[in-house]
Structure formats: C-alpha cells, structure tokens
C-alpha cells in the first residue's frame, strides 16, 4: 500500500462524512433552499465515489452492503406510491398534502408528502449512479 493512498484514505474518511452530512442537508433544504433529492442523491453518490477512489470496490461493498439495484427499486417505489397514494383518497393523482405539526421536543415541524416523493428521487439517484459505477467497475 503506497503512501499516496494512505493520505487519500485518511482524508476520505473525514471528507466522506462531511459530504454525507452536506448531502442530507441539501436534501432536506430542497423545498426551501437550493437542493433537493437530485442534488442530495448525487452528492451522496459523490461521497461513495470518493470512498471507491480511496479504497476498492470490495471494501466499499463491505462498508455499504446494499444491492444498489434494490435501492433503485425502493426509491422508485416510494415515489410511485407517494404519487399514487392520492388515488386512495379520491383526489387527482399526485396531489400532495402538507401540514405543520407540533412535535414535542422538536417543536413546529412541517410534514410534506413532497418530501417523501423527493426521498424516492434521492434513492433512485443514488441507486442508479452507484449501480452504474459498480457494474462497470466490476466488469471484466
């Protein structure tokens, strides 16, 4: 193991968490500030790409034991179900609802089905990016 990798690896551990935090922040801010599921998801993928750069695919697979194809399905499922949920309530497809709740300790919180939809987007983006990268990386 060469010294350059060591520097990079050490660095990556720190930076990885910064990026993940940042991406979660981007995701949650999306409805109000620039950001959202896309950028959040892409950023998370970026973080994992960094890990892949510093380590190797096998190691990263051990750290993050997801099947990313499954993540695509989950994400899409969340989005589709959120959108389709309105069918059950007899309102036009994709009608979002949102409300503000007072939750003890956290205070006034807004719950928005759009955020749920965006979560799906987030997962799909992460899933797709990493499926692609992982599949190419593993190919012969």
């Amino acid at each position: 193991m060469r010294s350059g990798d060591l520097i990079l690896q050490t660095m990556s551990k720190v930076v990885f968490f910064i990026i993940i935090l940042f991406s979660i922040h981007l995701f949650f801010e999306g409805h109000y500030r620039p950001g959202g599921g896309f950028v959040g998801g892409l950023m998370t993928s970026g973080a994992i790409i960094l890990l892949l750069l510093a380590y190797d695919i096998k190691t990263v697979k051990k750290i993050i034991p997801f099947d990313f194809k499954w993540l695509i399905a989950v994400g899409l499922f969340i989005s589709v179900v959120t959108a389709g949920g309105s069918l059950l309530f007899n309102v036009p497809f994709f009608t979002h609802v949102h409300d503000y709740f007072n939750i003890p300790l956290l205070g006034k919180t807004s719950l928005h089905t759009a955020a749920l939809f965006d979560l799906g987007v987030f997962f799909v983006v992460v899933g797709v990016t990493l499926t692609i990268i992982q599949t190419i990386g593993e190919s012969e």
Partner: protein
C-alpha cells in the same frame, strides 16, 4: 446577452454536430454532451436572462427570474445524464464485443441479400 448566448448555443450545436459526425464513438458521446449543454442553455435563454432575483420566495415581492425553464432544464440534465451513462457503457461493450470503436467499421448489412 441573449444575443451572445444565442451565438454560444449555436457554436455548441455546431461543435456537437461536428463531433457527432466523426468516426470515434467517444467523440460522438462527447458531442452528445455538448449538444445537451447547448440545449440547456437555450432553454434558460429562452426563459429570459437576469430578470430578477433567484427564484426563491423572499417575501418582499422583488421580481424573480422565470423558475419554469430552470425546472425543465433540471429534468433535461438528469435525463441526458442517464443517456450519456448508457451510451458510454454501450461504447465500451461495443468495443469489447465488436473489436472496434470506429463507426466506419460498424456498418452491418444483415438481411441485405
């Protein structure tokens, strides 16, 4: 500014076309990249440039730029990313299987007889 952007977009489209007409798959993929840059800038330009603040609700009623083209571009960007990814993998699988990335050698005349 819109004039300048129109010229830039035209230039991007011209370059993209040139690349798409070349032999190497990789250059064609790069061409599609430029093509989508051009298209995205065009949407933005057509929405009007610099007509107000960032499209975030600010409460003070200052005019904001047209948010709709931005949303359209975002959709388009993500889609072209997906296409580019597939195209790239296609190129490499094609090279692996067909042994060339030269489009001139990928004619194919099946069923011509």
């Amino acid at each position: 500014m819109e004039l300048l952007m129109a010229i830039l977009i035209g230039f991007l489209f011209a370059s993209a076309t040139y690349l798409l007409l070349s032999k190497s798959i990789l250059r064609m993929i790069i061409g599609t990249g430029l093509l989508s840059h051009g298209a995205h800038l065009l949407i933005l330009t057509m929405g009007g440039l610099k007509k107000g603040a960032v499209p975030i609700v600010n409460g003070d009623g200052t005019p904001v730029t047209d948010p709709l083209p931005q949303a359209l571009i975002l959709t388009a960007i993500v889609i072209s990313f997906g296409v580019t990814a597939l195209f790239l993998v296609l190129a490499y699988r094609g090279y692996q299987e067909l042994g060339t990335d030269n489009m001139d050698e990928l004619r194919g005349t099946d069923g011509n007889e």
